[in-house]
Amino acid sequence: MASTRTINRALRGPIFDYIMIGPAVVLFSVFIVWPAIQTLYTSLFAEPTKGGAFIGLGNYREMMGDPVFWIALRNNLIFILANLVLQVGLGTVLAAILDRGIRRGSTLMRTIIFAPLVIAPVAIGVMWKMILEPNFGLLRQLADGIGLPFPTQGILGDPYLAFPAIIGVGVWNYVGFMMTIMLAAMQGISKDVYEAARIDGASAVQTFISITLPGVRYALVLCGLIVIVGSFKTFELVYVLTAGGPGNATQVLGTYIVESAFLVFQPNYAAGMSVIVLLVAILFGSLQVYNRESKVKT
């Protein structure tokens, strides 16, 4: 009896807390904090092929004057904005339709919309490359069939169409995920509230704006943050579809970092860019934590 009490006391004490969070702290330190510090440290030195001397913020200064860095950053920002509107926006609309609009076949619709998410990004890239192929691809065949002109450089080879195409494939890939989160949030809203609104004569749009959206605001913010962080770190889809080309037209920070580190052999410059991406990710990660805390308080 006494020993049970001792165990209970130990389970309530701070030592037990430390034991429980210990493994997570160790793993986080080894796999996140330490590499981050190492990356920051590496970014302060010149490239190994140029002597590897300490140059302080030299790599960051070079970044400011590097047009490709700015193209990549601009593309990341466009990617974030487009995904916020298309992935979260479309995901919310689809969720609303499935929650309140469609009476039959909603499970089938949900499965179809969600399906692309379970396909590996590389497989998605290969599949869309084949669809968009400018001589024999499915889209070319369709365009020819209905007499529409096809872009001379194809879609992925055209500097003005390649990035919108990547955004489109990204939306196709992730909209199901956003829809699932939003749908779960919508299904948490009491049906009584909708019923009361209906009795008061509210239209479907009024119901959506006044009841559904406020009811899912935290899920909406969560989706937004997931999309922002995900879009900022995007790599696979761009790498497989265009590898940042044609030229640097579809370069994003992820592909530019890999290219700088492993193709152009400038690992220290790439480390500098990684630090920038890390800082932005930390910023948005903090917003996510803040959002969660304010939700708890509410």
Binding site: T49, Q153, G157, A243, G245, P246, G247, F265
Partner: protein
């Protein structure tokens, strides 16, 4: 009885557990990384033969496709477990690895006169050499030529063009004969393919000594890549694009698709490497194509009978725990039997052609070797000899030039800016 079986089983399990690791430890394991997938069957056979001849060595063979390999090998060399023996193209990356201290000097093997040195042309070995040492062993060479669809040419009374103007004229003729037929199949989703055109066009327009000095960033930095011939070369390339010589969507067509187009009678010509014939044959196009030289450009100031030729081979990682065994494997790969096997199974040109019986070379390879012999100058592809950052700018700008988003002047300005920056100490 039951107890006896249990005892025997326990002894067998214990024995396996104790002796297993000991047996495994007695065998040296080396990792060999190469390009794929066209060399998989050959490599597996080589590894099988080598392991049979050297039972104390086990070779772990891994491969990656052409484009991912360029990134993959750098990641591997930067890791804690780099491959012992790995493929590389002769040129800049060989010496990037030397500068980074990740490869081993193989001069000793050459001095010792290991098997691979027998009759190996010095000019090819030199592509892996700098004043500090020998950093790789060549095993094969590659070249690039125009290939024509023989039956299409014969049926329509067409001749292989001898001048650049004739080539442009041929593009129009092919379009007139069959609007569905692409004159030259070309895929530049991987931009090195544009660089191969530019390699030969630069060779046609600029003095080879000037080109070599520019690539090595020698002399006044401000004077690098200022020869007007470079601009002329780019204009010629643009003229080919404007003359509708190529298929649709150059920048989004993969090199594999362009080869398939040629081998499927959808293109009259293609500018393709010595690695292409086996792929044409695989599609049932065997014996229906032949190579011809990139045409001369009348009035241009460079070399008109030059050709693109590069070497590729293998390096040994500085971190290799088994450099002797790795060297033994490398030397084995370059023995006459293995070189002949490479020609037979992969259809690639051996670095030491004299070691391979002529009948094994095949018509395409024999003709390519003749074309190399006929050429007064051979130039390796730009992207293997230019300084890495300058090469990157050239590769990217090639796609922009095809798209018409930059002019030849913009292209050269970018190259010059990159060269000046790279030449800075």
């Amino acid at each position: 009885m039951k107890t006896g079986i249990c005892r025997i089983s326990a002894a067998a399990i214990l024995g396996t557990a104790l002796l297993g690791p000991a047996v495994a430890q007695a065998q040296t394991q080396i990792t060999y990384m190469d390009l794929g997938p066209e060399r998989i069957a050959f490599n597996e056979e080589i590894v099988r033969q080598f392991e049979a001849a050297n039972p104390d060595i086990k070779v772990n063979y891994i491969w990656q496709a052409n484009e991912p390999y360029k990134t993959g090998i750098k990641v591997m060399l930067d890791s804690n477990s780099p491959p012992d023996v790995f493929f590389n193209w002769a040129g800049t990356t060989v010496f990037d690895f030397v500068d980074a201290g990740v490869v081993r000097d193989l001069s000793e093997s050459e001095t010792r006169g290991d098997g691979w040195t027998r009759d190996m042309p010095m000019s090819i070995t030199d592509q892996f050499r700098n004043p500090e040492g020998l950093w790789g062993i060549p095993t094969r060479i590659y070249t690039k030529a125009f290939w024509k669809n023989d039956s299409f040419f014969a049926d329509n009374g067409l001749e292989a063009p001898e001048t650049f103007d004739e080539l442009l004229g041929l593009c129009s003729k092919v379009r007139e004969i069959d609007p569905q037929m692409t004159p030259i199949a070309f895929g530049a989703s991987e931009s090195w393919t544009i660089n191969h055109y530019l390699t030969v066009l630069f060779q046609r327009h600029v003095d080879p000594a000037r080109i070599a000095a520019d690539h090595r960033l020698q002399g006044d930095a401000e004077a690098l890549y200022t020869d007007p011939g470079y601009l002329e070369a780019l204009k010629d390339f643009q003229e080919m694009v404007d003359a509708d010589c190529f298929n649709a969507g150059i920048n989004s067509v993969t090199p594999e698709v362009s080869r398939a187009m040629f081998a499927s009678d959808l293109a009259a010509m293609t500018f393709c490497g010595s690695w292409c014939p086996p792929q044409f044959d695989e599609q049932g196009f065997e014996g229906r194509y032949s190579p011809f030289h990139f045409p001369a450009i009348e009035g241009a100031g460079g070399v008109q009978d030059g050709i693109l030729v590069g070497a590729s081979g293998y390096q040994i990682s500085a971190a290799s725990k088994y450099p002797e065994e790795s060297m033994r494997f490398l030397s084995f790969m370059n023995e006459p039997e293995q070189q002949a096997l490479m020609v037979e199974m992969v259809g690639q040109l051996p670095a030491n052609g004299s070691m391979v019986p002529e009948d094994l070379l095949g018509a395409a390879n024999t003709r390519l070797l003749q074309m190399i012999a006929e050429s007064s100058v051979s130039s390796p592809p730009l992207n293997t000899v230019m300084e890495t950052t300058v090469s990157d700018v050239t590769l990217k700008s090639g796609q922009d030039l095809v798209n018409g988003t930059i002019t030849p002047e913009d292209f050269m300005q970018r190259v010059r800016d990159a060269a000046v920056k790279a030449a800075r100490p």
